[in-house]
């Protein structure tokens, strides 16, 4: 019983990380480094909450969250792809702008109780003991996160379009010479990343904690960014990394309480440090193998591209 409850909490905490991280993975695979995940996520959160309030439908809210993130990412796309601005600086600016703008847009929604997105039980499967209620009685964001992992994995490594996208990320000059439209593909990849970040934001304001408060993403966008590197740009590893991070974060809360029961004093500061320590350890282990790291890292990541040069 308690184990089931803990697993449900872990899923809710990990889902936004996985979704936002998957979007950024596609963006980076196309060779664009967008550090604005936090900003796009919070825009998604405020957009989703506002529209859900105005229409009364959390599902329209989710769509609004996705659209908010995608539209906001277009600003980044225009600055870095069309105007060839520095991607790192623009991404940081996008985060700062998103945090400020969302606060302003959401001011009238503070303190209003949110509409929670209901769970959808999948017939038959949700009746399986233990696994059923955990995996098949979930909200739409969880189902979408799993679909995204499968879909992105298939797209990147099994389709022609995915191959082109990876080619652009590895060497935009060669891809351009082959006649692939680098800028258009990158625009689409940036918007996909924005849409995913927006969906993650919608999960925050409609499922995780159904409310709107300023800065409610609280750094999750940055964790999602780190997860992409952690996963060495592989979708499945994003899923594993996201859940590892989420699980350690929830486990440390329970460890505090259980420790109290047995009179064991584990410093809370140490416990809340654990998810980050786990991330560092895994990163070190992964980077042991230089070859696979190099193969997966998009070689043109963050480099500006001007088509007619």
């Amino acid at each position: 019983m308690i184990f089931e409850a803990i697993l449900l909490t872990i899923i809710t905490a990990s889902t936004p990380l996985v979704i936002a991280s998957l979007g950024e993975l596609v963006t980076e695979r196309a060779g664009v480094l967008n550090l604005g995940v936090e900003g796009m996520m919070i825009m998604g959160a405020v957009g989703a909450f506002a529209v859900a309030q105005m229409t009364g439908s959390p599902y329209i809210g989710v769509i609004a969250g996705i659209v908010s993130g995608a539209v906001f990412s277009l600003l980044f796309g225009f600055l870095t792809l069309t105007l060839v601005a520095n991607q790192v600086a623009t991404g940081l600016a996008l985060t700062i702008l998103g945090l400020g703008a969302s606060g302003m847009l959401g001011e009238s929604f503070v303190g209003i109780p949110g509409i929670k997105l209901p769970a959808i039980a999948i017939p038959l499967l949700s009746d399986i003991p233990f696994i059923g209620p955990i995996l098949f009685k979930q909200d739409i964001a969880f189902y979408l996160s799993i679909a995204l992992v499968l879909g992105i994995n298939w797209f990147l490594f099994r389709t022609r379009a995915g191959l082109k996208l990876r080619a652009i990320g590895d060497s935009h000059g060669s891809a351009h010479a082959l006649g692939i439209n680098v800028i258009r593909t990158r625009y689409l990849a940036v918007m996909f990343g924005g849409a995913c970040a927006g969906l993650a934001g919608a999960q925050l304001s409609l499922i995780y904690t159904p409310q709107w408060v300023e800065n409610m993403s609280a750094g999750r966008g940055w964790i999602a960014l780190a997860l992409v590197v952690f996963a060495s740009w592989r979708p499945w590893r994003v899923l594993i990394g996201g859940y590892l991070f989420g699980a350690v974060g929830i486990a440390q809360l329970h460890a505090q309480i259980i420790g109290q029961e047995f009179g064991i004093a584990i410093p809370a500061q140490f416990l809340s440090m654990l998810p980050y320590v786990a991330t560092v350890v895994v990163l070190v282990l992964i980077s042991q193998n230089r070859r696979t790291t190099l193969i997966n890292t998009p070689a043109s990541l963050g480099k500006p591209f001007v088509p007619d040069r």
């Binding site: 409850a5 803990i6 520095n86 904690t209 408060v213 300023e214 409610m216 309480i257």
Partner: protein, 357 residues
Amino acid sequence: MKKLLLSFAASAAVLVGAAVTAEAADKTKVCFIYVGSRTDGGWTQAHELGRQELEKALGDKIETPFLENVPEGPDAERAIERMARSGCSLVFTTSFGFMDATLKVAQKFPKVKFEHATGYKTAENVSTYNSRFYEGRFINGQIAGAISKKGVGGYIASFPIPEVVAGINAFVTGARTVNPDFKLKVVWANTWFDPGKEADAAKALIDQGVDILTQHTDTTAPMQVAAERGIQAFGQASDMIKAGPKTQLSAIVDTWGPYYIKRTNALLDGTWKSEQSFDGLKDGILTMAPYTNMPDDVKAKAEATEAKIKSGEIAPFTGPLNKQDGTPWLKAGEKADDGTILGMNFYVEGVEDKLPQ
């Protein structure tokens, strides 16, 4: 382009939330530094309401610029210094973490007066002000002791500073006046503000069997989780009844307005001097949200306790009280002095946590 954008980003960071109004030479400036956003629904919003009350009361003589979302740390010093430089006569710095920054800037601007919330360091031109939050938490504890069937409460704590520790102790002491076996489980979220993490902490406590919840973090997320899981909870800093109409028992509400008016008046008539203010329920700096969702007898008792604290008949930390390990702290009838409360660094009996040092 890169440089341009970087400077854009930097100036945006400073400008976010800055609302320094144009200078009007004849009006005295009373300035505020906020750690969060003024619509956070909790701590900073309470200070903002206080500022608005001040503006309403003395708006013809003063103006009240503020800076919000000022992070604790090196940035705080810059923000406070900017305020001092812009001609403020009195600056309220409203978070514990602004303590050292406030003192540093105060040294550079000896003519400007500063007031730092919840700190303990003063200077010739630096006062501190604090609220006896623990009085409200004692009443909450009494309610919890009466309502909780299992006799196990959950407490979402932020950081192990004296104010939070005193809150935990007051809550469990209050609960034990009703149910001597009451136990309190504590989870440190290590944040003041992160709805997701606060909700996770609330879920963890409920999963581990607590049937009443209270928080010392700033968002309404724990209240929402309590509502969803069907247990009852207390709000913090602001009335959180909207997040849990059937869930909130009461809330401790910060009402800084009267203090801000009092101190600004002192500044205007030249009687301002450095002091350490520590007001509570009786001074109106702390109020209780309506007692809701509880039986009438529990409500009556809570109201009676509130009246007795106001009249000074009882004090939350009155002996006999033992420390967590069972060693005596206060003898029967003995009351804790303010110094001990302001620097509280130990638990009383009934807290199951080990205090992080």
